[in-house]
């Protein structure tokens, strides 16, 4: 099968993970905050890992990344990524409109909520594939996109491998949060996942 058609089928199968995952995430946020959270239809892309930083605005773009490792049936990692505007809006939703990104509590809040959101996607993936997946404790970094992405790249030797990228815009009143979810299964897990989803 040629890669183009292949990618199309993969995206189709993975869209479901995006839809269910983002839905779960919005529900979790709404119930945690007792507020209404709406979202758009997630955009799902399969891209080469090295193009991820371009998609985020370049290697030097300041981003917030919440990083978790995936273990058991699927190995790899998952990262919830926010641009600075979205990170600030998310902090405002969580802590009120005077919140500042520089406050330590804001960083903890982002870490916690990033953890919840990333886990929502992991649950969706687990449900759709029937795989048992556990996640590590989350960690957060706010810095250059290239530097943050170097961590999963090194861990899985990922430079030219493919990553699943899910972009969802969450909305609470006037606050828009563009959340980018990067799912990076290692090569074996990616194949296992596609087999289970009926693509391969």
């Amino acid at each position: 099968m040629d890669t183009g058609k292949m990618d199309f089928m993969i995206i189709d199968a993975l869209k479901e993970i995006g839809n269910i995952g983002s839905g779960n995430a919005a529900t979790a946020l709404a119930s945690m905050l007792s507020t209404r959270i709406s979202m758009n239809v997630p955009k799902v892309k399969v891209i080469e890992f090295e193009k991820v930083s371009t998609l985020l605005g370049g290697e030097e773009e300041l981003i917030a990344g919440i990083y978790l490792k995936l273990m058991k049936d699927i190995e790899g990692s998952i990262m919830f990524i926010l641009d600075m505007e979205s990170a600030l809006n998310l902090v405002k939703i969580l802590l009120g409109k005077n919140a500042q990104l520089e406050d330590e509590i804001s960083v903890s809040a982002l870490l916690e909520v990033g953890n919840i959101i990333a886990s929502s996607y992991v649950n969706a993936l687990s449900k759709l594939t029937g795989f048992k997946i556990s996640v590590s404790v989350p960690a957060i970094a706010i810095d250059m996109a290239g530097a943050i992405l170097s961590v999963p790249a090194i861990e899985f030797g990922l430079v030219s491998d493919r990553a699943l990228f899910i972009e969802t815009v969450f909305k609470q009143e006037e606050n828009l949060v563009k959340g980018n979810l990067l799912l990076l299964p290692d090569i074996n897990s990616f194949e296992k996942m596609l087999l289970r989803l009926g693509v391969l």
């Binding site: 090295e50 970094a141 943050i148 170097s150």
Partner: protein, 160 residues
């Protein structure tokens, strides 16, 4: 002046004038080698310490050991002499901190140790460095004078 980008797991060699740049170094290490006499500059952006620790190791620039050797080779091809080459090293930070002691997360530190060992074995002196910490760095390596400009977000700018 021409600016040539060195990507992750990549290396380039130029003769003056010109600038070699690599953006958003995290746990990776940027190795800048410079021949003062001939004004030949080489920059590698290596991801992992040793090529023999990994099965998939065709890309020499990905590893500190094979990267440094290839970089020296390419500089010699352009007319550099090994006794005039000095090194500056940048990067090797730990972007995420965990409470757990996972060796992979100390990869920045391991990259730095590997870089120092390989350069020592090659007989190349490290004349300055900006390493460690928990933040990213962008570098601009000027082939005219061998200066390395290090930029960060929130941790200042310096020339080493």
């Amino acid at each position: 002046m021409t600016v040539i980008k060195v990507g992750m797991a990549d290396l380039k060699v130029i003769e003056a004038p010109g600038i070699l740049t690599t953006l958003g170094l995290g746990s990776c290490v940027g190795i800048a080698l410079y021949d003062h006499e001939k004004k030949i500059a080489g920059l590698a952006h290596a991801m992992l310490p040793f090529s023999n620790e990994v099965k998939n190791n065709e890309n020499k620039a990905k590893f500190v050991d094979s990267g440094i050797k290839l970089l020296i080779e390419k500089m010699l091809e352009k007319g550099a002499s090994k006794e005039h080459i000095v090194a500056k090293i940048v990067g090797g930070s730990q972007m995420f901190s965990y409470n757990m002691e996972l060796s992979i997360l100390k990869i920045g530190e391991r990259n730095i140790l590997a870089t120092k060992k390989v350069l020592k074995d090659e007989g190349i002196r490290i004349i300055s460095e900006d390493i460690g910490g928990n933040y990213g760095r962008t570098i601009q390596f000027n082939s005219q004078d061998g200066s390395v400009l290090v930029k960060t977000i929130g941790h200042g700018v310096k020339i080493i």
